[in-house]
């Protein structure tokens, strides 16, 4: 286990040590202490390592993550796991706005609540939120899956493309072109797997969720709708 004291050694030293890990490495377990809300902790990691951050983080923790498993033993500031490519990010507390934004792959698990714009423009990432999500979540979400055990705020999935949204609780309002869709057996199977991987299978059953997706009226330009633009 490599222990890194962010208070003493500083952010650049941490991130350059992590960036130096390429492909297979024998330094697979890292612990970051004294994060104190610092920005960009463990951003841009590209190695199959396990990093535990002991405390709360500021902006863009685990941004662009590739391959790594990053655990935050606290809450995360804005833009956590933004543009994640692969790997897993697990937040024990809450996440601030635009968690998992533009993420292209991997799994983001938020054990608490996520605030506004969670999964905005997601492009393949899977996000499992054990609590609730704020307004404008999954805005223009293109692909991937969003699972919410709690409630969703206003304008869920506005201008949605092909991401799948599963919400167990209430949805304050659906955004433009986002509709409730039928839960078919393949969705139950998909959700069952996501709940398991999202460490939420003990908390919720797939049958309790509703599925939301794109009505495909907005992004497929239709000549009959020309007057609406």
């Amino acid at each position: 286990m490599q222990t890194f004291d962010l208070g003493k050694e500083g952010l650049r030293a941490l991130n350059s040590s992590l960036h130096a890990l390429k492909g297979q490495t024998n330094m697979t377990a890292w612990e970051v202490i004294n994060p104190k809300g610092a920005h960009a902790i463990a951003a841009g990691v590209d190695a199959p390592v396990d990093i535990t951050v002991r405390g709360s983080t500021g902006y863009y923790c685990a941004g662009m993550n590739k391959l790594a498993t990053i655990r935050i033993k606290g809450s995360a500031g804005p833009g956590v796991a933004e543009n994640m490519m692969s790997g897993t990010v697990i937040i024990d507390g809450d996440a601030s706005q635009y968690a998992g934004a533009t993420g292209r792959g991997g799994l983001l698990i938020i054990k608490g609540n996520a605030s506004s714009r969670c999964g905005i423009s997601m492009k393949g990432i899977d996000i499992v939120v054990h609590g609730s999500i704020g307004h404008m979540s999954c805005f223009m979400a293109q692909s991937g899956n969003m699972v919410v055990l709690g409630d969703a705020g206003e304008a869920l999935g506005d201008s949605l493309y092909e991401a799948r949204l599963f919400v167990r609780g209430s949805v304050k309002s659906l955004g433009a072109d986002c509709i409730e869709k039928e839960m078919r057996p393949e969705h139950i199977a998909l959700l069952s797997d996501l709940l398991k991987r999202g460490e939420a299978d003990g908390k919720a059953r797939p049958e309790e969720f509703k599925r939301y997706g794109s009505a495909r009226k907005l992004y497929n330009f239709n000549i009959d709708n020309a007057s609406a633009y």
Binding site: K36, G37, G77, S116
Partner: protein
């Protein structure tokens, strides 16, 4: 950007440390806005006394013998403490308005930063650490306080453009964001008798709330009205003689984190600002909801 910090103490034992705690919080937020910084601190001057905080570009000239001149003008005792470009005058509460009017006459170039029973405001162009040390904020005690570090986007980098803005007795406001309908609202408020020192958008937000309070609204109702009448981006933190409030616009893209323990309620633009507060590890920490008013009064 801009950085905001705020602290409302519940435990009187912490009161002597208020200035030191706020200074530490504000310095942490320096990289959110290095143009100018300001701090409002609430502490009682003593029973029956009020405070006037003044600012001058030429303090040596303007503050020389001001206490004596003012005493003569209002016929009441005046105590003055000069701190760099600012001076805090203590006068009998009943004479506060008379003192303010007399200062305008005696020293026409002096600006009034704040006036009230408990409030003092210190603000200048420069980094938070320099502004705080210039006014020895860390040595100040008090019941609650608000700090701001500015990245100007909307109007000039000047002392008067720095936050907090005070537009009513014991009232102040700091802002992260920008208002888009401030010119229209300012015209309307002027018509209703409010006066303005700057062309700054935040001053309009402050005056809007002060006007509501003047008409008898509660702090909570005044803050709710900002959600319907002010357009633009805002996270506001406001102070009154005995209260502390927070409101964010419905889009809420300007960051905000709050923490509460038995000892205090704290606000920071980022969690970083709160990390050195006592008991933060076990505090209730949350992000204030959009379009939701929070306030505490003692």
């Amino acid at each position: 950007m801009c950085g905001i910090v705020g602290l409302f103490l519940k435990d009187p034992k912490l009161e002597p440390q208020l200035g030191a705690m706020l200074t530490d919080m504000l310095i942490t937020m320096t990289d959110r806005g290095p143009d100018s910084a300001g701090i409002a601190i609430y502490s009682s001057a003593g029973k029956g006394l009020g405070k006037l905080t003044l600012q001058s570009a030429k303090p040596d000239k303007d503050f020389k013998d001001l206490d004596g001149d003012l005493k003569e003008a209002i016929g009441a005792p005046v105590a003055m403490q000069v701190k760099s470009t600012h001076a805090v005058l203590e006068v009998p509460l009943g004479q506060l308005d008379a003192a303010r009017a007399a200062v305008a006459h005696l020293r026409p170039e002096v600006k009034v930063m704040s006036s009230g029973e408990n409030i003092e405001i210190f603000k200048e162009v420069g980094l938070p650490k320099d502004v705080a040390s210039r006014f020895e904020v860390a040595k100040m005690g008090g019941t609650h306080g608000i700090g701001h570090t500015r990245m100007a986007t909307e109007s000039a980098v000047t002392t008067m453009g720095a936050h907090p803005f005070s537009t009513g007795p014991d009232q102040c406001l700091v802002h992260n964001g920008s208002l888009s309908n401030h010119n229209g609202v300012r015209r309307e408020l002027k018509r209703l008798g409010m006066t303005f020192e700057t062309e700054n958008d935040t001053e309009v937000g402050a005056a809007f709330i002060s006007h509501k309070l003047q008409t008898g609204e509660t702090l909570g109702r005044a803050l709710e009205a900002t959600l319907t009448d002010l357009d633009g981006f805002f996270t506001f933190v406001v102070g009154t003689r005995n209260g502390f409030g927070v409101v964010r616009d419905p889009i809420a893209c300007k960051p905000a984190v709050m923490a509460e323990t038995d000892q205090y309620v704290a606000f920071g633009s980022e969690y970083r600002a709160l990390v050195n507060l006592p008991g933060i590890e076990t505090a209730r920490v949350w992000e204030p909801e959009p379009a939701t008013v929070y306030f505490w009064e003692r």
